[in-house]
């Protein structure tokens, strides 16, 4: 069997205070540690050490086209000019292969498959042509949301629930991702492909996002900028196994579990 391509990556594993640098095989979700090849599922994962996790709403062309009529009606009145941002707070972060609590009374959640840029140094007023200089690497984010969150107010109740943001499994350095604006993103529910899109469809590509966001605020070293969730996010329910795949990075897996089963436990 031919060995698949490997890239270096930063891994956060439980019990290790420092990130571990290792080779990974993104296509197989395998890790080479101490010369031994292991499947990512055999390791005990932690969330990568990150600062603030920002997300960008309304950044896929297909989504913008679908919403165009709504943008001209109240309460929106006109399409957005600046990037529309939100924050996924710490209580939402979850490592690879952990359980996402599905709130009691919630039938299904939206799986928000996306690529996240890891910022490498404090970045303010970065010109588009210099944006790559402030990128340390990339990782995968599953920006989970309750359906029908609405666009007018910040959707905390939909997006900020405990465990609603799996991140990882690892960070792949910038130079190992030569074409971040043309990466296929896929979402799988119980091993069935339910969504496929590509970062080539971003309204603002990565460099434009960094320029437009740092025009008004500092992105700090360690912050994550999730570039946008594609249109038609698949729904998943308690009991489902969910995978988000970004080409060249790997696969981020989670299991959805009823909140009652996890309650009383400290979330990972």
């Amino acid at each position: 069997m031919a060995t698949s391509r490997t890239v270096s990556a930063l891994l956060a594993l439980r019990g290790r205070p420092q990130p571990l640098e290792a080779r990974v095989e993104p296509a197989e979700n395998a890790v080479i540690i101490d010369g031994r090849r292991v499947d990512a599922s055999e390791l005990d994962w932690d969330t990568p050490a990150i600062g603030c996790l920002y997300g960008v709403a309304l950044n896929f062309r297909g989504l913008l086209e679908a919403l165009e009529p709504e943008f001209h009606r109240p309460p929106h009145d006109r399409p957005p000019l600046a990037p529309v941002l939100y924050i996924k707070p710490r209580n939402t972060w979850l490592a690879h292969r952990r359980s996402v609590p599905v709130p009691t009374g919630v039938d299904a959640v939206e799986i928000g498959a996306t690529l996240a840029v890891v910022i490498g140094r404090d970045a303010r007023r970065v010109a588009r042509h210099r944006a790559a200089e402030v990128i340390a690497g990339y990782t995968i984010v599953n920006d989970i949301s309750l359906p029908n969150a609405g666009l007018f107010r910040p959707p905390l109740r939909a997006k900020c629930r405990d465990g609603f943001c799996p991140v990882g499994p690892w960070i792949v350095p910038r130079d190992a991702v030569p074409a971040p604006d043309a990466l296929v993103i896929r979402a799988w529910v119980n091993r069935e492909l339910r969504m496929e899109n590509t970062t080539a469809n971003l309204q603002r590509d990565i460099a434009t996002l960094i320029a437009d966001v740092t025009e008004f605020m500092t992105l700090r070293a360690g912050d994550l900028l999730a570039v946008g969730v594609p249109e038609h996010p698949p729904l998943a329910r308690a009991g489902d196994e969910v995978t988000v795949e970004v080409e060249g990075l790997g696969r981020l897996e989670s299991t959805l579990v009823p909140e009652e089963i996890l309650s009383g436990e400290i979330l990972p």
């Binding site: 941002l85 666009l151 905390l156 605020m217």
Partner: protein, 252 residues
């Protein structure tokens, strides 16, 4: 007890008030202008509540809401006592917001209002600036309005919860260059501190270091470069801020 965080001669120090000045954790007494002030604690998740005073909601011509308006802020926005906040050159309306900031000390999940205050470790004053020119009707108010660098002053002190007998009866006041522009009382909050903790913890876990900015009363006015803005809350503190031109804009 009141605790602050300052930088004195390049060192980060814990401090407490002493006389007219501060006592550093190594015993030295210094004056307020000998130090650079940091926020009095390291904020974790920063939650901000909008339209939580009925009169302020009327001032902004907004109908009372059924669902509380809450938004999040990033660490870039936070600054300490006596910090300068840049005002973009091209805007017409940038305003302060004097707010009681509630600091969580103990994990809170599904906490009822009558038990909520036991999860509070202390209080401080927040001045949470907004640039209204940048308001758009998507996840409103969005980060370009509220999450600018230095837009959220916190301080000077973190005051122990035990020292605030009733967080639902505190006078708030803002002055701009010495003129009173904003007055209110926390009793006029639509959701008080206890109800806010109940609401937020009903869908997310609050943890030690999380802070809730509880909203501002009526009386927000535009501020300009050179203005001194003092936001003050009875028994909690007097937080001073300054408005500057945006240095990078001014340089171009």
């Amino acid at each position: 007890m009141r605790r602050g965080q300052v930088i004195f001669r390049g060192d980060r120090r814990a401090a407490e008030p002493e006389g007219e000045g501060l006592r550093l954790d190594d015993g030295r007494h210094v004056t307020e202008d000998e130090v650079a002030w940091l926020p009095p604690f390291e904020p974790r998740t920063i939650l901000a509540v909008g339209l939580n005073y009925a009169a302020h909601a009327r001032e902004l011509r907004l109908a009372p809401r059924q669902e509380p308006l809450v938004f999040l802020k990033g660490p870039n926005s936070v600054a300490g006592h006596r910090s300068a906040t840049p005002r973009p050159a091209d805007v017409k309306f940038m305003h302060y917001e004097c707010e009681l900031a509630v600091v969580i000390g103990r994990t809170a999940r599904n906490v009822l209002a009558n038990a909520a205050l036991a999860h509070v470790t202390g209080y401080t004053v927040a001045n949470d600036y907004a640039v209204r020119d940048y308001l758009e009707n998507y996840y409103r108010p969005n980060l370009r309005v509220k999450n600018r660098d230095g837009a959220t002053l916190l301080g000077p002190w973190l005051v122990d919860a035990d020292d605030i007998s009733d967080p639902a009866n505190l006078e708030l006041r803002t002055t701009v260059n010495g003129q009173v522009t904003q007055r209110g009382n926390t009793r006029d909050m639509i959701l008080g501190v206890d109800r806010l903790i109940e609401y937020l913890s009903s869908f997310m876990t609050l943890d030690a270091g999380d802070v809730i900015l509880t909203g501002t009363p009526e009386g927000v006015v535009n501020v300009n470069p050179g203005d001194e803005v003092v936001t003050e809350i009875e028994g909690v503190g007097r937080l001073v801020g300054f408005i500057t031109e945006d240095a990078a804009e001014a340089a171009t």
